[in-house]
Symmetry: C2
Subunit: 349 residues, 2 copies
Amino acid sequence: MLEDKNQSRTSLEQLGEFGLINHITKHFKASNKSTVKAVGDDAAVLEKTDKQTIITTDLLVEGVHFDLSYVPLKHLGYKSVVVNLSDVYAMNAQAEQITVSIAVSNRFPLEAIEELYAGIQLACETYHIDLIGGDTTSSTKGMLISITAIGKADKEEIIYRNGAKETDLIVVTGDLGAAYLGLQVLEREKQVFKVNPNNQPDLDNYTYLIERQLKPEARKDISSLLKDMDVQPTAMIDISDGLSSEIMHICSQSNVGCKIYEDKIPLDPQVISTCEEFDIDSTMVALSGGEDYELLFTVSIADFEKIKGNPNLSIVGHINNKAAGLNLVTRAGQELELKAQGWNALENK
Amino acid sequence: MLEDKNQSRTSLEQLGEFGLINHITKHFKASNKSTVKAVGDDAAVLEKTDKQTIITTDLLVEGVHFDLSYVPLKHLGYKSVVVNLSDVYAMNAQAEQITVSIAVSNRFPLEAIEELYAGIQLACETYHIDLIGGDTTSSTKGMLISITAIGKADKEEIIYRNGAKETDLIVVTGDLGAAYLGLQVLEREKQVFKVNPNNQPDLDNYTYLIERQLKPEARKDISSLLKDMDVQPTAMIDISDGLSSEIMHICSQSNVGCKIYEDKIPLDPQVISTCEEFDIDSTMVALSGGEDYELLFTVSIADFEKIKGNPNLSIVGHINNKAAGLNLVTRAGQELELKAQGWNALENK
């Protein structure tokens, strides 16, 4: 999954800003009917719609959010788009457009930018998204990517964080913790590589973890799955910072408490075996690991029969009144207060 | 116009990301009816509309686009918003929302970020814009600001770059070149300050130039001015890179040529006197200086009587057929080919 280092190098100065924009965007074809005008004017234009418009934005900084020593640029481009789309899907909306702005130092040749945009294009094709604008500029250090995603949804279908009610069930999609562990594996291999650059890493036991870290997918499918099941969640958020932090956002904005059951948290077998190998607590990884880009939502208890047994969904707890607080019930039946520690909790371990 | 250096310092780490977002955004109140949900969920939500939606984005990097040694943070915040709004107004649309993402190194205390957002807030109030989202993160070096502006307009009113027709008149708003000269004055003072930090600069002769550089305004007023005059431009663009570069965009996308008359280019008296002092050609400054954030548009020659004599507007030339090329007619009557050199033309002088 590493980059080919034997690439040719064309300096960005040779092209200039407008040349670079033309070069990059000529492979992108807008295909959504709502895109009236994409790249090429002072601004992009979207068709009028009888739906509401959803807007979200994220900023990714080299050395803070990604490490190019083990993140291939194509994967980085793909992931940068996916993390933004995830926020649109967390509103129960359909994503349709993105703008992409990048700042890059002169250490990046044109070929590197092409790789990045190849990943962006792949994500656009996979999720049926139009690239409609952006900005390219030089930076004094490193690479920075700023993406804004635009979507739409009927007013009645949009799900906010503030609608969770007492007795609602708490549901997560997919499984948790794998992306964080994937990062730990890649960081370990980076250290090994520093000591012995000829060492060929054997990553067979970690393929799922590494894929979840390097090429996560956003849950575009959940909106239609819920519609098919005739379930309208009461609150929803995407899991970018770990289950603990996200349920705290829902509880805080909905003015409620919650109870999460440790034995209900969905974990992939590779997460369990790798946690044993790394001697980390798998529950802690799921609660505080982050970057899973699964969805967390609450539904009325009346929807229990519709939800249970669905292989995409796990009921992990229920909403309580606010006074009861936010708690984790351990496998031993002990109740612990949930804390939003994010990655710090794991790094300071 | 310089910052107070005796400010107290609160480190950003003390607040954390969510604390910082809450602290910054609590002073912002959304007031546009189209803003359904601003900051605080996975994404912002805008009301449905029978108009088209306009989206534009810009990325500003410290050391590339601004120099904090003479740009006060409040002015920087204001200008960062204005340059984005300018792109919306250049579509003949109304701007209503922005998202603001910033990456800052730990050399910036909370008080610096507050100054930046005070400027952003002032621009929001001045232009009646809602801050609806964004991202804050740490950077490994310097400050970076990414802003996306969202506006709307009736389909029939939107003006693209590609509608200019042969014989159309070429019109610019306001005057040109002052922002570039303001930067030259500030750069000169920076050099003086390095040699003698106790020198009190006398900037009385350059107040207009410095204001145009540090606190530019976007031409929100032109859309209604044109409507009142019953003039619908055939093409429009904002002047961020200098008149020469912008008219080339219009000609290229409209598949036409043009003739610009040197003696018609609107210049402020301070531009003329400062060009003499700096021994720079004022026409070159207007053509290649940039950052004026005025509007450049073309209108049918039938609108001549409506345009002429308006103190906000200057007719600087006319559109030609493509084969005639893009030319500047000098005061001496000589025809020179226009070149889009941007700031490089001036820096390599």
